[in-house]
Symmetry: D2
Subunit: 323 residues, 4 copies
């Protein structure tokens, strides 16, 4: 292997730049020529491929977003699109790929390998932490701390006005951000897709709080919760609860994707980037690099896509004791 | 004057605690007995009035929210409610009030004085900076920096994905937060209630950006803008613009009210609190303490309520040059 | 067991309050009466012991420092001191202790148990992460992020002025803070007590940077490095290096101990607090609760004191590739 | 005037990039060709001069440091050095300069104009806020907030351990950072060069605090205070005070120069940059743009260099009441 290209795909996540830096500097360390593909599979199809040296990735370890930009590509889902991508890679002499992204990205990479035999190793880049094969994903720790900072701020207002706040955080299929930001933010209740919690359950927790003279409460709702979005949950609660309360709803939204990555995310991203590159060099393909119990492992794309990562139920038990 | 009570009323704002501290320590310095009323006029009516000493306000200068809690009071809008409030103040021997709040608060204070001759001096506590008689209000600088921090984060994502983001910030009748967070965040367009900007204006700015190869843009919308909320504005733009763009909307919401106050807000709040207290001691009443051109001044409640604070149009001119 | 007291001892660490909250709410959940001892062993000797209920620990999960205060106690190192402490515990009916602190704290607890049979379970509270028996200690993640934030700021100046900065971080016997803040901050060189790195090594790294046109560099020095403090190391380098460079030194100092804990630290502290409490209830004594590979374990005080925690040498290898 | 160059000189300050952006986009708006000089007067002498367009200053409004780099130049203090600089400017066709820096920078610019008639307008770039002719300088608000954040963190530790902390902040000839960070941080005592405060004064304040049961105290020392650096002051206090206290010293150091600028600094920097550019276009020379009472004014370099900016003594009076 002589020329390796790295790209980011899917939603951006803080730490992607640290990961790119590790891939590039790692590759240069091992004597490879390194390239970057702009805007993921779209850029591959268009041949938007640039050489990267050590200075190209200077001073980016601390930056949010991705210097290689990201996009979702419909064209790459078609055989014609993938053929164009392959032709561009050939034209640039690329013989290996590092894909930083999530399941959609890895699905594409696997099909692409089956068709054209260019191997890809993935790094898990998504704030949702919903990928099987790694304890944590790139951007998750930063997203949780961003959500937590917002929860801390909102509690100031909740306390000052004796209010119940429903705060929606990201996580379409996964309650990880909700759970970790909720526990660390001292939330009274946390609604996540992984656990069935009814409106009645929430009401009984809130009432128990009133009985203990809690004057304000925070309920965290993961965007993918089956009881609906925070606004819907709040409406249901308002209709059910029989004490007068002042209820507000806020959706933290896109701030959760941005910002300078935390120390944890920068180190994780660096390890995953270097690990993916070294895996590729050692003949790995169709696998995602992950860190499990502080050890680097490689998990087949097939497993990261089909297997479900479980939430630590001990944390949920703890949350109910500490509130 | 021997016994003075301080209270916070209306929406909470970062710096209210620093202001309370200044009122209390200032009062003790001048030999007064100091009291705090919990939950604004509601607490006055219920007699929820507590003595405050120097230690009561220790270690609060850095805290968001208000240790005295805040509320809006319907009962105080009735003569019966105000009579109850007066009786409670008499029972506690209170002969002067410091009200930290906005126009609703000051309107109540003026009527109350006319009926019962207990003088009030106000301090401008609102993040919106919409009060005539002071260059800045308590909490405004913190709210702007909170909004700016969010804009910086969102720009990471906007840049990574070539998106246009519509970000709604607080300010029902005032574009101050929008203008200052928008200029400092490098927004391409800023929509505020004080200035008529049509959807066509925004579209032409966005198009000019495309022509200059800007791949992402930020539009800041004050919640009180006459073109509607950010989501509505975004819909209108989407329907008007004739190039394919990826548009997202986010509402920053309640995070703008909370958080530890900035240095500016702590100093401003301290000056306003001490200034209000010293004004009351010097015979002022029915006035709000303010800082204009770095000088302490007192403005009649009547003026703070009826006069409109103008936005610095030179800043708007600058914004259009710098984008 | 009916009455349990919790205390903090040794240097304070962000997350101690979250840990206290978990101990107290956990104890109440299991039907215990809970107490707090003020200022560690000193408070035990003086009988500075207060009852704690659920509200006592409200709104502290986000606060740095420790509401129970901390101190080092010389008197508790004497048999007379410990006897006084025992008498006070007896007087309050305390039959179990939770000690949040480091090795000094645990050494005292073990001797105390041998003399008076009051069992203690410990929680690892120190920013240095130098305790055997847990992957991370309370406050470590926050301290690393605080140091990282400072490094990011200093890099702005280093870049603008083409300077080499020597930055000293905490860690008397441990290079954990140096290593993690250094890697995440993109430092060119990291000096830690665990690894012998000579002045010549550092000079050769810096020179290699110059050759690659790096105009600024950051060197992180753990306070316990055997080459000396940052100022000494900088002097040695200045005397050795034969190119003209502008060298500056800064010691991050006590800011590393304070601040609101990160999400990670709040969750870790909560798990350790609840885990210590549940261990005590289940008959554990003379052990420290720790989290290893995401599992709660208990390690005898004897081991936490005598065994040396190793630094992950893979991270050091990575640092040398990525710089 | 057709071609204008901008440069940064002296110590870097957060907001310099926002100022550069305003100068460049302002110049382009008025039809000028814009250039940047790298490393201040040194770059001018070497001809390190690059063209700047609108995209050159994209995405820098939020960055600390200066993309044009900064340096102090000994060679420019000589007639030969300045002649070289002039020749380079001529070679590039530069007929006007914008200098972002402090008094050293402006002194050079004035001499340069007298010799070669190339006009310069200055913008006040220094965190110290020690320039006559503007209420605030670029970077001051950010530096104060950085110092404040550190003070807040240190107070966590001071409170937890009942300690007195001496914290040294920047400001060689000016107590502005000390005063504003000290007041907003709730410091018990603030030592600044502008006001004679003896060790005895500090001791009496600290003792009064003990009498009111304050268990911890913060003393802020400006680096230029005549009682010496924080470590010396602490030693003198330790030798004078007759109660047992635990005293610690920390010097905040270079973190005060870096970081993303606050909203205030970004707006101020933008106004000063655009104002300097518009002044130059309107025939101003040998003047510094400043904002006084929210109005743009121009002050002759001579005055900014020779006149002393006074500290607001009302703030000092307030500090002594509120502590």
């Amino acid at each position: 292997m002589k020329r390796v290209a790295v790209f980011t795909s899917g939603g951006d996540a803080p730490g992607m730049n640290a990961c790119i830096r590790a891939v590039v500097r790692g590759g240069l360390h091992y004597g490879l020529e390194m390239f970057g593909i702009i805007r993921g599979y779209n850029g591959m199809i268009k041949g938007d491929i640039i050489p990267l040296n050590s200075q190209s990735v200077s001073n980016i370890v601390q930056r949010g977003g991705t210097i290689l930009k990201s996009a979702r590509s419909k064209e790459f889902m078609t055989p014609e699109g993938r053929k164009k991508g392959y032709d561009q890679l050939k034209a640039h002499g690329i013989d290996g790929l590092i894909a930083i992204g999530g399941n959609g990205t890895f699905t594409g990479a696997e099909i692409f390998f089956n068709e054209f035999q260019i191997p890809t190793v993935g790094a898990p880049g998504t704030i949702d932490n919903d990928l099987y094969g790694t304890d944590y994903t790139i951007g998750f720790d930063t997203a949780v701390n961003t959500a937590l900072d917002a929860i801390d701020k909102i509690r100031d207002t909740a306390d000052s006005h004796d209010r119940i706040f429903f705060i929606e955080v990201m996580g379409r299929d996964s309650g990880y951000i909700a759970m970790q930001s909720g526990i660390s933010g001292g939330a009274e209740s946390i609604l996540i897709p992984e656990e069935r919690q009814t409106v009645e359950d929430v009401v009984s927790v809130l009432k128990a709080g009133f009985d203990r003279k809690k004057s304000s409460s925070i309920v965290i709702v993961a965007e993918g919760d089956e009881e609906g979005h925070a606004a819907e949950v709040a409406e249901k609660i308002k209709a059910t609860i029989d004490v007068p309360v002042d209820i507000r709803v806020t959706n933290l939204g896109h701030i959760q994707r941005g910002g300078s990555p935390t120390a944890y995310d920068r180190i994780l991203s660096s390890r995953l980037g270097l690990g993916a590159l070294e895996g590729l060099l050692n003949g790995q393909k169709n696998v995602m690099a992950g860190i499990v119990n502080d050890e680097l492992i490689y998990t087949p794309f097939h497993d990261t896509i089909t297997k479900k990562k479980l939430i630590n139920s001990d944390l949920l038990r703890m949350a109910s004791i500490l509130r």
